[in-house]
Amino acid sequence: MATHTAEPAAAGAAAVEHLTLEDRVWLLRAMLLMRGLEERAMTLYRQGKVPGSFYDGYGQEAVSAGAAFAMGPRDRLCILHRDLAAHLIRGVTPTRILAQYMGRAMGITGGRDGNVHFGDRRLGCVGMVSMLPDMTLVATGMAMAFKLRGEQRCAMTWFGDGSTSRGDFHEAMNWAGVQKLPVVFILENNQYAYSTPLDKQFAVDPVERAAAYGFVGVTVDGNDVEAMFEAARAARERALAGDGPTLIEAVTMRMHGHAAHDDMKYVPKEQVEEWRKRDPIERQEKRLRDLGEDVDGLRASVKAEIDAAAEEALAAPMPDPSTAIDGVFCAGEAEPLGDGQAPWSGFFGGEA
């Protein structure tokens, strides 16, 4: 059994080898959309238009954007609560996302579940549950089915540093290791689990565990979207080649509170300031500006898209209360998951 200890992330150079300029703009665009949509959702939350609580991934946009971008249309994803860019890359429209936050009928869950607890099954995604990190097992099971059927596909899921303390993390990692499954685990180390710092969650960085489970663990700069892409691309290649799972630790920082109500008093100001300098969007913007891309134009188009989406979502109706008890059980045939949009591998599909 070949085991590897963590090694530094692939450098930007390796990423560029696999990315066209268009791809690199796509990555920026996904991050800008994520940030813009979450900011808009936060405004809507403050206006009382988003019920319940509100969670975002400000400052972590590169983790979901880079990783999801490396996936193929027939790959399957369980996207977590700070990973909105992955939904966008799979093809979920901004309008439906804002409608989802607001509990509208046209939201991905039709108002049945809230905020980021969703996955668009028509785009190859299984919506997360709150219990962290339950989806690691679901992703592992999807990968198991792919392997049993001899299909060239992989599954991917995300989870946080805190989530690694739960038993399901272990059961998933161990299972994936024993069966050498095509699954990519993205450990989003954003320094905190709610208010709990890393040293209360583990004595040793969990990326070290990958070797003890019999597979590759790598640490990546989670604020570099191209490095994230490259690590995920290599992991997917390994998965499809039959070389088993990969644990990618994306080192990043949760720049906002756990949820809207959290003022993050427990985080030293300097820590936030330090990380602000490493903003993933600014980094990717600089790269593209240096290449002569019209970043300002991109920003403007993203903003326009969000404005239009917000308008549409705000006009959309709330769900009909008379439907509240429908659909607890599936009454007809089980519909399979659909394929997702996958810009990098050249596949655009999904919903209109």
Partner: protein, 322 residues
């Protein structure tokens, strides 16, 4: 029609499904090489191979969770808990991930969890439980509990064909004690109740291992009273119509449940009758169940807590005299 034991009927259903549908996949601890703790899958690995009769790590959350993953990408996993009691270790995946998926996301989870349950053989507090009420109280999960070999087979086929998570409560005490005629091949038994014995003076409502207990209890010694036995077979969905129909005809009801009495299936049935069958009632809704105690190991203690023929007969007698 061949005569099979309850256990053989379960095996036959699994074998028929594996043969006829290559999406079907069995998962569990020691189900492959060993053929399962109760030998339900004995010889399967030779016919179907280790990929379809999968020996898993000792990890119940892992079994349920990965089965959910396999189910949503088109497999039809059938998971075995080595004993129903161990579902407590896979509880979260079942109630939160599987049970709520379709309502939340419109995504079906065609998953069967086989739960060898029940006491009566000195299994003690961790090998004797009847956990069905936990899942009845968890939306999105179907629960069935056969009492005959024919129903074991038919309900298992239906469960595997069902696009939803189904807990299949197979009572260990019936495995080799129950034996009846079972149609061959794939057939479906609906998730509805069944009149196991018709009657008109009193109805005993039961499911699983309590059905043969009820049948024995009412078979004589009740001074010729006409006693019906209703076998629920399915707990979710619960066949309210059949229950209320029996109550209307019989007016007196004894509900027998092997589970601990509090918030058990029997409590739900009693509550249903007290609300919707009240006008038909000609006496209290009597329950016979296990008191709220872990199932003890030592035979005299175990016999003291599990509902048996005598307690059921006594309850019927008293109610008939009401």
């Amino acid at each position: 029609m061949p005569t099979l034991t309850y256990l053989q009927a379960i095996s036959a259903a699994l074998r028929d499904e594996l043969r006829s549908d290559d999406r079907v996949l069995l998962m569990g601890e020691d189900i492959g090489v060993f053929g399962g703790a109760f030998k339900v899958t004995d010889g399967f690995i030779e016919e179907f191979g280790p990929d379809r009769v999968m020996d898993t790590p000792l990890a119940e959350s892992g079994i349920i969770g990965t089965a959910i993953g396999a189910a949503v990408v088109g497999m039809r996993p059938v998971c075995e808990m080595q004993f129903a009691d161990f579902i407590s270790c896979g509880f979260d995946q079942l109630v939160n991930v599987a049970g709520k998926m379709h309502y939340r996301q419109g995504l079906a989870v065609p998953l069967v969890v086989r739960l060898p349950s029940g006491g009566g053989f000195s299994g003690g507090p961790f090998h004797s439980q009847n956990p069905e009420a936990w899942f009845m109280h968890s939306p999105g999960i179907k629960v069935v509990a056969p009492s005959t070999a024919a129903d074991a087979k038919g309900l298992l086929h239906s469960a595997i064909h069902d696009p939803n998570p189904v807990c299949f409560m197979e009572h260990k005490h019936l495995y080799r004690r129950v034996r009846d005629e079972v149609p061959s091949g794939v057939f479906e038994t609906p998730f509805t109740a069944r009149v196991a014995r018709p009657g008109s003076d009193l109805v005993v409502i039961a499911y699983g291992a309590m059905v043969p207990v009820a049948l024995e209890a009412v078979s004589d010694g009740l001074d010729g009273a006409s006693v019906e036995v209703l076998d629920l077979r399915s707990l979710v969905p619960l066949d309210e119509e059949a229950i209320l129909d029996s109550v209307e005809r019989c007016s007196k009801v004894v509900i027998v449940d092997e589970a601990n009495q509090m918030c058990a299936a029997g409590a739900q049935v009693a509550a249903l009758i007290a609300e919707k069958g009240f006008e038909s009632l000609d006496g209290p809704v009597v329950r016979v169940a296990t008191p709220d105690v872990p199932i003890p190991f030592s035979p005299p203690l175990e016999q003291a807590v599990l509902p048996g023929v005598d307690r059921v007969r006594e309850a019927c007698r008293e109610l008939l005299a009401y």
